[in-house]
Amino acid sequence: MAANSMTAKQAVVGGLWTEVPVLRLVLGMCPTLAVTASVKPALTMGLSVLFVLFCSNIVVSLMRNLLKPHLRILMFTLTIATFVTIADLFLKAFMPEMSEVLGPYVGLIIVNCIIIARAEACASKNGIFISAVDAISMGVGFTIVLCLLASVRELISAGTIFGVQIMWKSFVPWVAMSLPVGAFITLGLMLGLVNLLTGKKS
């Protein structure tokens, strides 16, 4: 992705398969692990990241010709911090209980490596259209991975998905899956599975 320009098709394929955030790039691990104990917060987090990624990619793309190299990371983080504030206030106003569940992890979107990586690798080198497409595909890819991980964990730790009972009645929930242990191990196995499927040797 070091190329100076890329096509819209490359951006879509990159975000949704060849460079799926979390699984292929191993970026943005903190929110991935922290909010995936059940599907609802995972989905909210995914959509917030999508929003912030989209807006910041567009702004960075607009000001890419004005950036001084040594100040660019600061400019990126300030742009991102602004949009995260918007997302945080939106959640506080319209989904107070969800904002309570996510807690400081909404603010931590600022330091989510995916967003900074996309600003650096894509938006600061490409036009608005490509940056927007890239942001949407990366954001959707991230949301899908988050929801997948959360479904696995919620299914095993509570027998439900989205609060709906899925497992049979006599199923004994394994609570450890909703604790940090479950997060690390599920994600580790998931990464292993993806490596197995794609035959990647690392």
Partner: protein, 196 residues
């Protein structure tokens, strides 16, 4: 005496029981990225400890002396990230001047401390926990850095051993590191009963 015991408890709690890396999932990226060798892990831990102590104290002061009295909480994220970026710049300049070899060996990871979630995370958690006196905030910030160093050094030790073991091909690299982290977390969960 009472105050001192509160501080000691807070320190133990944030280093062991509420370790930021293992129970709050903060700072996972350097935890996975830099934990290959124990000397680099320790250097990274020290740099993070310095930045996190400085950033934690400064943001607490800014929060309680400027933002809250003047009703400017809305700019909290922007202020925090500026303070952290400034602190990292300071460390970078200091290391480049006095410890050039260490500076070289960190490479890209040094500026990336700015985006280390443990640091911003701690500043935000100080808010969530309603820390209301300065010594407590300072002890918690310092303890968080020590906790990070502890976790990343243990991990580096395990990974140096892992290099010699026969890990299935698909699990090599990040996956096995995550699974190891999971098992380590389980071990640290045992401490949870120590302090409420």
């Amino acid at each position: 005496m009472d105050k001192i015991s509160v501080l000691v408890l807070a320190f133990t709690s944030i280093v062991i029981v509420n370790n930021l890396v293992l129970t709050k999932f903060l700072g996972i990226c350097p935890y996975l990225g830099v934990s290959g060798r124990i000397d680099m892990a320790f250097g990274m831990g020290m740099a993070v400890t310095f930045v996190i102590t400085l950033a934690g104290c400064l943001t607490w002061l800014i929060d309680h002396l400027i933002l809250v009295p003047y009703g400017l909480e809305i700019t909290r994220y922007v202020c925090y990230i500026l303070v952290i970026a400034g602190a990292v710049q300071l460390v970078e300049m200091y290391l480049r001047k006095f410890f050039p070899p260490l500076y070289e060996s960190f490479g890209i990871f040094l500026p990336l401390i700015t985006t280390n979630c443990a640091i911003l995370g701690l500043c935000l958690f100080l808010n969530v926990w309603n820390v209301d006196n300065f010594p407590l905030a300072a002890v918690l910030s310092f303890g968080a850095g020590i906790g990070f160093t502890l976790a990343i050094c243990i991990m580096a030790g395990i990974r140096e051993q892992l290099n010699f073991s026969d890990v299935p091909a698909a699990l090599r690299g990040a996956p096995i590191t995550l699974i190891t982290a999971g098992i380590m977390t389980m071990a640290f969960m045992g401490f949870a009963g120590m302090i409420k």
